[in-house]
């Protein structure tokens, strides 16, 4: 780990000023940052510790029906908040399917949004990586690409975004509240992460000093509570990143789908909202045929970035399964194995 200056911020304004300096990064729980620093992948000159900032660890249920989640709320605290888990079950299930209990107890919601890719070539300082070293090339191309992107990738980068949490969030129109050197602003979560194009080193639209202070879900998001699921296919049943994941939320009206929300994880460098599939589902009957049509629409633009064509078919089948489970209704209790396709209820769909 490189040497760094440690600054403990006493206020948001102080944090923003300290982090706007070149080489500075924010420290929250550090569960991803310290891992990257131990591997010399991240070498920040200054850590601005925001964990002692007051007021950023609250979950506020807003008068109009929305929810405002402070940036420092721990992943497990959000997932186990009874009101939140009831109104946003797919988000709670996604949270509990990620990482381990120890990591969820420490990691913050803003840290989850800003975690870096787990592409093994990004994590290996001996490999060329355009994300770490712009213009160096991408050793993942032609390498071990089983888990890499099938949507939105470029010749410069085929990595994926690893978050589970972001997948239902992006489908439910989550908004990020940001404080920066020029004041406060809001960024839709769907616009926070950038696709790689020719600059995979530019991962988000955030500028130096920008601090995420909260995450907001609009009132409409809770309208899907009765028919929301998150499913995640992984190489082992627990404590693994997604090969492919899907979040499906439906509003059923008189035997038809009034409104649908669908997003995929593990397929692109950002949480992937499947808007064409949502449009295909609107007004349709909740049948396997409708779900298969939606799956086709969601993957219409997909192409393998290497030896990963299987992920495209896997994603189609997972969409059908997740929509089927969502249509059946949100389970009364969180499944014993959150988001697992091997949970009792998921096996029969």
């Amino acid at each position: 780990m490189n040497r760094f200056d440690y600054v403990r911020a006493g206020s948001v304004a102080e944090a923003v000023a300290a982090a706007a300096e070149p080489g500075a990064v924010y420290l929250a729980a550090g569960t991803n940052l310290l891992d990257l620093m131990k591997g010399s992948i991240a070498r920040p000159g200054r850590l601005v510790d925001v964990t002692h900032l007051p007021g950023l660890d609250r979950i506020d249920h807003l008068p109009g029906g929305g929810v405002r989640i402070g940036a420092l709320v721990r992943n497990s605290d959000l997932a186990y908040d009874p009101d939140f888990a009831k109104s946003h079950p797919a988000v709670a299930e996604a949270l509990l399917s990620g990482a381990s209990a120890q990591l969820r107890n420490a990691a913050t919601v803003a840290g989850n949004l800003l975690q870096r890719t787990r592409c093994p070539y990004f994590y290996d300082p001996a490999s060329a990586c355009n994300k770490r070293d712009p213009g160096a090339g991408c050793d993942a191309r032609g390498g071990e690409t089983r888990l890499h992107a099938v949507l939105g990738w470029s010749e410069h980068c085929i990595a994926t975004h690893p978050s589970d949490f972001c997948v239902p969030l992006v489908s439910l129109d989550a908004v990020v509240e940001v404080e920066g050197t020029s004041g406060a602003r809001e960024v839709p979560l769907d616009a926070l992460h950038r696709l790689p194009e020719d600059r995979p080193d530019r991962e988000t639209v955030l500028e130096p000093g920008d601090l995420i202070v909260a995450l907001r879900l609009p009132a409409e998001a809770a309208g899907f509570a009765g028919h929301s699921r998150y499913l995640k296919v992984r190489d082992r049943t627990s404590y693994a990143f997604a090969v492919v994941s899907a979040s499906a939320s439906l509003r059923l009206e008189g035997g038809r789908i009034g409104e649908a929300r669908l997003a995929l994880g593990g397929v692109a460098l950002k949480p992937w909202r499947a808007r064409a599939a949502e449009a295909a589902l609107t007004g349709a009957e909740p049948t396997e045929r409708s779900f298969a049509r939606a799956a086709e629409a969601a993957l219409a633009e997909a192409r393998p970035s290497g030896d990963n064509a299987f992920k495209i078919e896997l994603a189609r089948r997972l969409i059908v399964r997740t929509l089927t489970l969502a249509a059946d209704g949100t389970p009364e209790r969180m499944p014993a194995l959150p988001a697992s396709a091997f949970s009792g209820d998921a096996l029969h769909a």
């Binding site: 131990k38 120890q102 420490a106 014993a336 194995l337």
Partner: protein
């Protein structure tokens, strides 16, 4: 630059001076406070051998900077027993053969204590296995570990009822 912080470690207030902000909680415990029960396995948050409770919650001490935890209450494996009387989770691990080589055991036990405090798993072995998935055991003592957690939880629930009566 010297960083001064105060921690409560196993019930005792400790004033700590760090000459380097890079010290993790795990390295502080092992190298500077002589508490070597918490183990350094992967040092990357993947194995769980370093698990301790911070403010009553289980975390990976290898992925926390000590300087950031100023004011925190830390419980390690050394603080679990009351004198010679083992904590129910410790006793249950012995009775159910919840280990073989023992390297992962302090982390397993602290994680189990955290899991029982969280109160989410109940008496469902599947939920306990899921809740303990952040702790790897290379000897494969998982069957004994699950039984130990179930048994300890039942005993602690019984003891709580007894206290209340």
């Amino acid at each position: 630059m010297t960083f001064r912080l105060t921690l409560t470690v196993n019930g005792e207030p400790r004033a700590i001076e760090l000459d380097d902000p890079r010290v993790t909680l795990l390295d502080l415990l092992r190298e500077r406070l002589g508490l070597t029960g918490s183990k350094k396995g992967c040092d990357r948050g993947q194995c769980g051998a370093c698990t301790v409770l911070v403010a009553g919650r289980r975390v990976n001490s290898c992925l926390a900077l000590a300087v950031s935890l100023d004011g925190a209450d830390i419980l390690t494996i050394e603080g679990l027993a009351r004198g010679d009387a083992l904590h129910p989770v410790q006793s249950a691990f012995i009775e159910h053969d919840g280990f073989q080589c023992g390297f992962c055991t302090p982390g397993q036990i602290m994680s189990a204590v955290g899991l029982i405090r969280e109160g989410q798993a109940g008496d469902d072995p599947e939920r306990i296995r899921e809740g303990m998935s952040g702790n790897l055991c290379r000897c494969g003592a998982y069957i004994g570990i699950t039984q130990a957690v179930l048994d300890a939880q039942a005993r602690m629930a019984g003891a709580t009822q007894g206290d209340a009566a």
